[in-house]
């Protein structure tokens, strides 16, 4: 709780700092605050506690996820000053909104009550609508924001409808009650089916699962790259966390399983296939995020509730997966921004050409992160996928899993295409300028990816 408050207060604080025009202080304050929050969470480690009369429940899972999201936010902030260097004013808002959105994310990792679920999602989303439109005078930015808003609101409606129905069934917003009801009354009633269905639809939207993925490519494409990066990482993690909590507490009743299978298959297929011929890096990353959502769903699919079964493992896997995915993605986005600047604003993946010739180590970092996304051994991405495979097989989803393997192969294709660019010579000489700090961030991501790949327990140690 204290951490939650700290973060929201921090947001306000940042706004004030901005008010006093201390642009240079924004990032440091933010970073300090985030570090503080991390510290608070770290102290609250291993101590499950409830808040707001059980509406929020901070257990190992939510703590771990919150920490991971904070860590990624830290990376974003570290890169922030560089990115916003050219932006004259309203920089404070950017940081503040990210922090607010982060609060929503943390709510999603810990909610125990559908009211909190709803609030979490909204608190997470609304700042993002604004952030997506961060470049006031860029049409693409506006369009992205508006699309995101419209589609988001639409999905919210679904979510709410679902919540309402479930409420109608149990007469309470408490997940525990719902779980108990399912356990006792079974899954017969139409209210339950519809309710679960609509809630899942709402969650799937945030996660960017097919068929509710339409916003992902456009918004990722249109939003300012740093925001895209934030969405692709922190928001993703929050969404999967929220999704997991819902599935886990309800203990995967049978209609839910059926929906999830379809979602999983569709997401893996569409996400990977659409990425094949994508040459705009931001959109490529968007599709890649969809496809990874698919793999996370596969893990989720194998969940059979914490009480009954492997919930804890699934949670661990999801955390590992989303965190490593976020690390690699964050690093790549920073690399992308650097390359984009070097090629005056071009966003196609050819902009990476010549990197190996001029900055070999940077290229190697990029390679490592791409391979991680592709799931090649000795990278975290590989271990993550392997865990997912293990879960899926353990839960007996052999065929779905076989399909997943094929899709993973497609995935490798488009990541390798980018990797290939990294190592090709560019037609005309390009100069990539990397500030030490950025280099540090990228290196951090790479090291993280490799370290977690070689020593996976690093994440698995909690709970």
């Amino acid at each position: 709780m204290s951490a939650l408050i700290l973060i929201s207060v921090l947001g306000v604080l940042v706004l004030y700092v901005g008010l006093f025009g201390r642009k240079d202080m924004l990032a440091p304050v933010g970073i300090l605050g985030v570090l503080g929050a991390i510290a608070l969470f770290a102290t609250g480690w291993h101590i499950p506690h409830e808040l707001l009369g059980g509406m929020l429940e901070f257990d190992g899972f939510s703590t771990g996820f919150s920490l991971a999201m904070l860590a990624i936010t830290l990376l974003v902030f570290l890169f922030g000053p560089d990115y916003y260097a050219r932006m004259a004013n309203n920089v404070a808002e950017q940081y503040a909104l990210m922090l607010f959105s982060l609060c929503g994310g943390i709510l999603l990792t810990a909610y125990n009550n559908m009211l909190m679920l709803f609030l979490g999602i909204e608190v997470l989303s609304i700042p993002l609508y604004v952030l997506a439109g961060g470049k006031k005078y860029s049409l693409r930015s506006n369009e992205a924001a508006l699309k995101y808003f419209l589609l988001g609101a639409f999905a919210t409606a679904f979510l709410l409808m679902g919540i309402a129905l479930l409420y109608g069934l149990t007469g309470s917003f408490d997940m525990g009650v719902l779980a108990k009801h399912i356990a006792e009354a079974g899954t017969g009633s139409a209210l339950l089916r519809f309710g679960i269905f609509f809630v899942v639809a709402g969650l799937a939207f945030k996660l960017g699962a097919v068929p509710l993925h339409f916003w992902v490519p456009d918004v990722y494409h249109g939003a300012p790259t740093l925001v895209t990066m934030f969405m692709a990482t922190v928001v993703k993690m929050a969404a999967i966390a929220g999704f997991f909590r819902f599935v886990d507490i309800t203990g995967m009743p049978d209609p839910l399983a059926r929906i999830l299978v379809l979602l999983t298959l569709a997401t893996m297929l569409v996400g990977n296939i659409s990425a094949l011929r994508q040459t705009n890096f931001k959109r490529l990353m968007a599709y890649s995020s969809v496809s990874h959502a698919g793999f996370m769903l596969l893990a989720l699919l194998s969940d059979s509730g914490t009480e009954a079964g492997n919930g804890a493992d699934v949670g661990r896997t999801l955390l590992y997966y989303s965190f490593t995915y976020a690390l690699a993605t964050a690093g790549l986005f920073i690399l992308f921004i650097i390359a984009k600047r070097a090629n005056n604003g071009d966003e196609h993946h050819q902009i990476f050409r010549g990197l190996f010739q001029t900055k070999p180590w940077l290229a190697l970092c990029g390679l490592a992160m791409l391979l991680s996304l592709a799931g090649i051994p000795l990278t975290a991405g590989f271990v993550a996928k392997y865990q997912v495979f293990l879960l899926a097989i353990g839960a007996g989803w052999l065929k779905v899993m076989g399909f997943g393997v094929l899709m993973a192969l497609l995935g490798i294709y488009y990541y390798i295409m980018v990797a290939r660019e990294l190592f090709m010579a560019s037609e005309e000489p390009v100069t990539f300028t990397v500030s030490p700090l950025n280099g540090l961030v990228i290196a951090a991501c790479t090291i993280g990816v490799l370290l977690l790949g070689i020593w996976p327990q690093l994440v698995g140690v909690w709970a």
Binding site: L151, F158, R193, P211, L212, R258, S274, R277, Q278
Partner: protein, 628 residues
């Protein structure tokens, strides 16, 4: 006193040594030094063999060198088997080999790559010795393949000529076709008996009942190998082409030694063949057919070496016929005498070619008996020998075969006699056209140097008196060679010829008479020719057919070579080009195309997105509800 094992080791070691020394020092060796060394080494091998032979006590001695292939219960030693049979072959190989080596010094004197030639010739001798000395099928197979390779190299010795290269390749590949049988037979025998050593294999096989499928299969497969090596139907067309090689090569490899490997192999495994009458019949008739084939085609050849080549083919046919009727000793005897007179014939031919500066067409020869006297006389001796005029060696050996065949199958006998007459005919045609009449060429004939003529003389003597080795009882002989070989080969020991003496006399007399008549006939046609216009046009069909070698080459080209080339081309252009690779690439391209398609769904239109979301949700809803 050198131990027997060491001697046995020396026999193949000396030629090998020659190969290495001459081969690596080929820049330094001249014809004389290199040739001299090579000859000396082979002569040394001959002496060793001779020593071994003299020491030979009629037993079988296994000289075990080391374990070659050992795996689990498989143990294949690298060992030599010293017994009468191998000793006899060693003597032939090294003896004739020595003579031909010496001859080559003169014949190849001016060739720039003479050292290489001798290295390869020595290598051949080495391989041939392994072949005959091996104590098991695999060691024999080493030599078997080795001689094949050497013959490939030596046929294509003048490698700038594509035809020669082709001939070499043809020889090797046809041998390989035979080798398939050889290998399979070895595998079969090994899996049956758990060993490939001759002694135990023959021992165990001897205990088996005759006509059992295993033995028949094995013998047939072995015979396939033999047909390849010994140029029997249907695998014989390589031998005439092999004449592309230098003449000494033709003499050594394609007349005296390598081509008799098949006969050797069958004699080695005579036990098996005695157990498989079916196979024996096949061997007999293949031999007979080949004998006839060679003789007929030989009639129409105008290249002096080609004539001899086909004659070789037909003589080999005789030998197989002998094996077919179980007359192993007769076969071996003919191998021996044939080695003498056919080597002599080739060397004589070589001498003639040498004398005419490379001319090989007998239509451009004639009247050489005055200019090249030694060659002429020796050649005459050989011709008489091969024609089977008593008391020359050929008479005895051929007669042995005929007698046995008559006892076993008169039909085969008739054909063989006919072939014998043809032999006389084409041989004397050759002789007359070459040495009689008047010279039709343009070169300036001159007798060859001593180094070439001396070998001729030696061989002439051998061809003349070689018959003494195995004089049949009817002449009060004791069939020395047969008794010798009987110690080594149960097959020979089991031989028996039950013909009344009178019949035998009759056969010999009649055959000889017919032959003499044939010779006279040949004289009338070819004896006094001064000019020669090729065969008269409008030959009858049969004649044309024979002149074209019974279309055998065409048959192969049509049945094997063309289809194979076609297959190869089309498997590549179709199988790979149209199926395998496109399938892979196609899969990839389709997937990519699909990706392009799916990507286009992202139309950018918000209403459409909203609709899509709703539609998707509804579809999901329906599916989940319906599947419930």
């Amino acid at each position: 006193m050198v131990s027997t094992d060491l001697l046995a080791l020396l026999v193949p070691a000396l030629p090998l040594l020659g190969t290495l020394v001459i081969g690596f020092g080929r820049k330094r060796f001249t014809a004389n030094s290199g040739g001299g060394l090579a000859t000396a080494l082979v002569a040394g091998a001959f002496l060793c063999s001779l020593l071994l032979f003299l020491r030979h006590d009629g037993g079988t001695r296994i000289v075990h060198l080391f374990n070659w292939i050992t795996l689990g219960d498989m143990n294949i030693p690298f060992a030599f088997q010293i017994d009468a049979l191998s000793l006899w072959m060693m003597l032939i190989v090294t003896g004739v080999g020595t003579v031909i080596h010496a001859y080559s010094i003169g014949y190849m004197h001016d060739d720039p790559r003479v050292a290489t030639f001798f290295a390869q010739l020595n290598l051949f001798t080495f391989a041939m010795l392994l072949l005959v000395m091996g104590s098991n099928f695999l060691v024999t197979y080493i030599g078997w393949e080795g001689v094949g390779l050497c013959s490939y190299l030596l046929i294509g010795f003048w490698y700038t000529n594509p035809d020669f290269n082709y001939a070499g390749r043809k020889a090797f590949v046809m041998n390989r076709i035979g080798d398939m049988g050889m290998v399979m037979a070895m595998v079969l025998l090994f899996l049956q008996f758990g060993t490939v050593n001759y002694v135990p294999v023959m021992g165990q096989a001897g205990a088996m009942s005759p006509d059992n499928p295993l033995i028949i299969t094995a013998t047939l497969l072995l015979f396939l190998g033999a047909t390849g090596k010994s140029a029997q139907l249907p695998l014989l067309t390589w031998l005439p082409d092999a004449m592309a090689g230098p003449t000494p090569v033709s003499a050594l490899i394609h007349a005296a030694t390598m081509v008799t490997a098949g006969i050797f192999l069958l004699v080695r495994s005579s036990v098996l063949y005695d157990l498989a009458p079916y196979t024996q019949d096949i061997v007999l008739w293949v031999g007979v057919a080949t004998a006839l084939f060679g003789a007929t085609v030989g009639l129409f050849q105008n290249d002096i070496k080609k004539v001899l080549a086909y004659s070789t083919v037909s003589q080999l046919g005789y030998m197989f016929a002998a094996l077919g009727v179980g007359a192993y000793s007769a076969g071996m005897f003919h191998v021996t005498t044939h080695a003498f007179f056919k080597a002599l014939l080739f060397l004589g031919a070589g001498s003639v070619i040498h004398a005419l500066g490379g001319e090989q067409d007998i239509r451009k020869m004639g009247g050489l008996k005055n200019t090249t006297k030694t060659t002429y006389i020796t050649f005459l001796v050989a011709t008489l020998a091969i024609a089977g005029i008593p008391p020359l060696s050929g008479f005895f050996s051929k007669d042995g075969i005929l007698a046995h065949t008559f006892a076993d199958s008169p039909a085969a006998y008739a054909v063989l006699v006919f072939a014998a007459l043809l032999t006389a005919l084409y041989m004397f045609r050759l002789l007359f056209l070459t040495f009689f009449g008047s010279y039709r060429g343009t070169a300036h004939p001159h007798e060859s140097p001593k180094v070439m003529t001396v070998p001729l003389v030696i061989l002439a003597v051998l061809s003349a008196v070689g018959g003494l080795l195995n004089i049949p009882h009817v002449f009060g002989g004791n069939e020395w060679l047969k008794h010798l070989l009987a110690t080594a080969s149960e097959g020979v020991a089991a031989e028996h010829l039950d013909l009344p003496v009178s019949t035998e006399y009759l056969l010999m007399a009649s055959t000889t008479l017919l032959v003499v008549l044939t010779i006279w006939y040949a004289w009338t046609i070819y004896g006094k020719k001064t000019t020669l216009d090729g065969e008269p046009a409008g030959m009858p069909f049969l004649k044309r057919l024979v002149a074209r070698k019974w279309m055998l080459d065409g048959l192969y080209a049509w049945l094997v070579e063309k289809p194979f080339g076609w297959l190869s081309r089309h498997l590549f252009s179709f199988g790979e080009g149209k199926v395998a690779v496109p399938l892979t690439i196609g899969t990839g391209k389709t997937t990519l195309g699909l990706g392009e398609l799916v990507r286009k769904v992202q139309s950018g239109n918000t209403s459409f997105y909203l609709f899509g979301m709703m539609a998707g949700v509804v579809v999901l809803l329906l599916i989940t509800l319906l599947s419930a």
